[in-house]
């Protein structure tokens, strides 16, 4: 299944959006049913153990470059996510690992794979940011491949759900990003004035090494 779309964010810069999208916590919060999203080493992931540990590792999305820089996605790194989606009586737990394939400002892409309900799936997705007159356009795409029982028996059910999950994900990212921008506005951060804005951009560039 292929999905794509684009949304616009006003009064912000490509750097700010890039910063926000570098934050695993924002991604976790945007992904419907996502229990945790953490960096992992190569090798098998114990999802049950991680789920128990996740409750204690509560982190909030932020607009603070310092904080994000600490935990930002890195190219080549591997992350594990547990996603629980309810499809009527079907309650699959998607045990997913994702690798950041590329992160070159202002584009990034990731791919992953996982298992659920006697089935497996692969996904790839990417985003590209573009500066516009009023702000930033985020273009995104995602594709998923499903294998096994769900693909064979669950066609009628998975399509609307996959559609919902993917579309909801990007909608929520948009919402979160809009909130964050407001936050930085409210905190009189640096977007009011040209110079400050550039200052933030520079800080972001410095911090996360664009």
């Amino acid at each position: 299944m292929e999905f794509d779309g684009a949304f616009e964010l006003e009064n912000t810069t490509v750097e700010e959006v890039w910063l926000a999208l570098s934050d695993p916590v924002l991604i976790r919060d945007s992904l419907p049913g996502c229990e945790f999203l953490i960096e992992v080493d190569d090798g098998d992931v114990d999802f049950e153990e991680q789920k128990a540990a996740a409750a204690e590792r509560d982190a909030e999305p932020t607009g603070d470059p310092e904080v994000i820089a600490q935990r930002a996605f890195e190219e080549g790194k591997r992350y594990a996510a547990l996603i629980e989606v309810s499809v009527g009586s079907v309650n699959p737990q998607f045990q997913t690992t994702v690798t950041i394939d590329s992160r070159e400002f202002p584009e990034m892409s990731a791919s992953g794979e996982g298992e659920a309900s006697g089935s497996s799936f692969e996904l790839s997705s990417g985003m590209e940011l573009e500066e516009t007159e009023n702000g930033v356009t985020v273009e995104w795409w995602a594709s998923t491949e499903v294998f096994g029982r769900i693909a064979q028996m669950g066609q009628r059910m998975i399509n609307p759900v996959a559609n919902r999950v993917v579309k909801r994900f990007f909608e929520r990212i948009q919402e979160r990003l809009e909130e964050l921008t407001l936050q930085t506005d409210g905190a009189e951060s640096m977007v009011d004035e040209e110079s400050d804005s550039q200052g933030l951009s520079q800080r972001i560039r410095d911090k996360i090494g664009i």
Binding site: S86, G88, S89, S117, N163, R164
Partner: protein, 297 residues
Amino acid sequence: MYPAPFEYERAESVEDALSLMDEHSDSITELLAGGHSLLPTMKAGLATPDVVIDIGEIDALRGIENAEGSITVGALTPYSAVDDSETVWTETAVFADAAHHIGDVQVRNRGTVGGNIAHADPASDLPAALLAADGTVIAHGPDGERSIAADEFFEASYMTALAEDELLTRIELPKRGGHAGAYAKKPSPSSGYAIVGVAVVLETDGNTVTDARVAVNGAMDHAVRLEPVEEALSGESFTDETITTAAERATDDLDTAMVMDDLQASNEFRAQLVEVYTERALDTALDRSSVAPPAAD
């Protein structure tokens, strides 16, 4: 295929069901009524509940009651009983018509109204009918009963306003004697589920449509109202021309990116079918209505 093992509990009453739900709230629990949504997914190995609570024997939840102002349909009432009910056909034809279009005879004998609505399959037939009929869902929870308007009930595919600890016990359908109602469905030739299904209810005063409720199944990830069609009908005289004009507006408010897109039909074709079947549902409603055709000029 074969269902995976599970623990089976049989509820004798609504209270019993609620307490069993509470008792097993830490497990993956499914309620079993007719089983026609649950068992196929269990047989396919897609659903593997730990506990199945069989509510099918709670007789209090079965039956159609002709109350004052509304028809009450118990959650365990099978589709066939709705289809066979003269009262439902008379008072809220759209709902009976939709029940008539579900699955096949065997499915209608076992599948239940409550199970269908609580399951909220985007391609099932009752949700749009419930919306068009302006029905109300009654849910029983630990704190008692509450009513949820159909417009508030369906949230997304398989997602409703029903809380996890609540049991859908009945629905109420306002009586609309003298109204015009119909359900028009394009079934999938394989599964029989709705590629699209359009439910319409029209109140008329003479030749004039005073109130219109139109909703669609299968098009979006849950049943939705087609408000532009309703607006185009309201206050107009009920004629073929009005119907055609109104049907053309069927997809005006639908987010095309979110229209369902699958093996059975692309989102573009679904959108086309929404128009075609809106017109057909309205045509049937017109045929069934007591509205006199406008005098020829």
